[in-house]
Amino acid sequence: MDRTKAILFFVLVFLLVVLAFIFFKNSGSERIKKPGEIPQSAVSTQAPIEKSTRKVTLFFLREEDSQLVPEERDIVSDPSTVREAEAVIAELIRGSQTGLVSSLPAETKLVQLFITKEGVAYVDFSKDLVDKHPSGSAAEISTVYSIVNSLAYNLKPIKKVFILIEGEERETLGGHISLDHPFLPDYSLIVKE
């Protein structure tokens, strides 16, 4: 009897150790994930071989009349809105493929992006967005609304966009448009054709 008890005890301890190991391993990998991301362990372990894409409409600047002009692009589709939003910003920085102007300086880097429950996307850029910006009302308006419109138009959960620079709220990009509030999209700036 004592022997079976001892064996049972060891088996139990062993099981506990294994369980604890699995638990801590999982929670460790959870922590690495970015905030706002939906844990999709089931999907990621099945690892689809081919990444599916989706079409997005980006808004670039046409300098002659300062209108925003749509340009379609494929991005990797992702169940996470944050990931897709990051892809939209990356494409805006990469620039137009049809000769339009990107109103984000090429040096600009996206530092972080998160979306609140209320649908406000906080988009944090490197200081290049300010330092390499040409200043001028027209330039600032096109920068703000090419970002805001491109995000809100393609990603339903995003209602408003708050632009941050290196993690902080900034007064303006170059002395004109106030950045102290989240922006609603303004589709009146888009060319009507």
């Binding site: 002659e64 200043s135 001028g136 009302s137 330039a139 002395g175 004109h176 448009i177």
Partner: protein, 260 residues
């Protein structure tokens, strides 16, 4: 009161002199600025803030100051207004201070002067802005404002967020003048088209930091693009700057006639 008579006399002497002085000073002050209302002109940028830069090295901050001086002279020579500049030399002035200068001087008009800038050199023309209100947010703010009785407000100001409350209140200042601001923008834009012959980019609305806190009709003029080499060449010419000042002057003159 058992004050010795001599002390009363001694006290009365200098007291009377002081009283007379104060009266004389206040009378002089009143008669000096009694009828003259103030227009505040805001030369965009300045100091470390260069504004937009032209291909030939022209700096926006210098053009805006030059035009502002010309406009000030035109107004003071021809209209019964006193003109205050938010800066009269090449110095940094914060956005808050620019609007504070207008409010502290009881300005009746606020005109911010800029030259435009874009990413490449093609953009051209002139446009006039007035403040846009982000409707839902403004509504919330307005409600928050109405719900606060003055005593509650005072109590809040006692709290640590003194500056924040002040900003919220000033932030609302311009919202009461949007209609007049749009009329002022319209009059000035018309004259810019006539005098300058630059492309008409029209009147527009945007959330300009410098306009938000101004408690009177307020506009921001973007005269030509300094980022366009052809327009930059125009902007550095004294004659063109004179025309810009003349256009704004004519526009504001017509606007003031609408309200007198």
């Amino acid at each position: 009161m058992n004050m010795p008579k001599r002390t009363v006399k001694v006290l009365c002497g200098p007291g009377l002199v002081l009283l007379a002085l104060v009266l004389a000073l206040s009378a002089a002050g009143a008669s000096g600025s009694k009828e003259l209302k103030t227009i505040v002109i805001d030369p965009g940028h300045g100091g470390m803030d260069l504004g937009a830069k032209g291909k030939f090295g022209t700096l926006e901050k210098n053009i805006t100051l030059a035009v502002s001086f010309k406009l000030k002279a035109l107004i003071e020579q021809n209209l019964p207004y006193r003109v205050v500049l938010t800066r009269d030399k090449d110095i940094d002035v914060s956005m808050e201070n620019r609007s504070a200068i207008a409010n502290n001087n009881d300005a009746v008009l606020f005109i911010s002067i800029h030259t435009n800038g874009s990413f490449r050199k093609k953009a051209q023309g002139s446009e006039t802005f007035f403040l846009s209100l982000d409707a839902p947010d403004e509504e919330t703010r307005k409600l928050a404002y109405m719900e606060n009785t003055s005593s509650e407000l005072e109590k809040r100001i006692e709290d640590e967020n003194k500056d924040e409350v002040k900003t919220i209140l000033w932030d609302m200042a311009q919202s009461a003048y949007i209609k007049q601001s749009s009329q002022l923008a319209e009059e000035i834009q018309k004259e810019l088209n006539i005098f300058l012959g630059t492309e008409n980019r029209g009147i527009k609305q945007a959330p300009f930091k410098v306009l938000k806190g101004v408690a009177c009709p307020a506009i921001l003029v973007e005269v030509a693009f300094i980022s366009n080499p052809e327009e930059e060449q125009k902007l550095i010419k004294d004659d063109f700057q004179r025309k810009v000042a003349e256009a704004i002057y004519q526009g504001l003159k017509k606007y003031t006639k609408l309200f007198s």
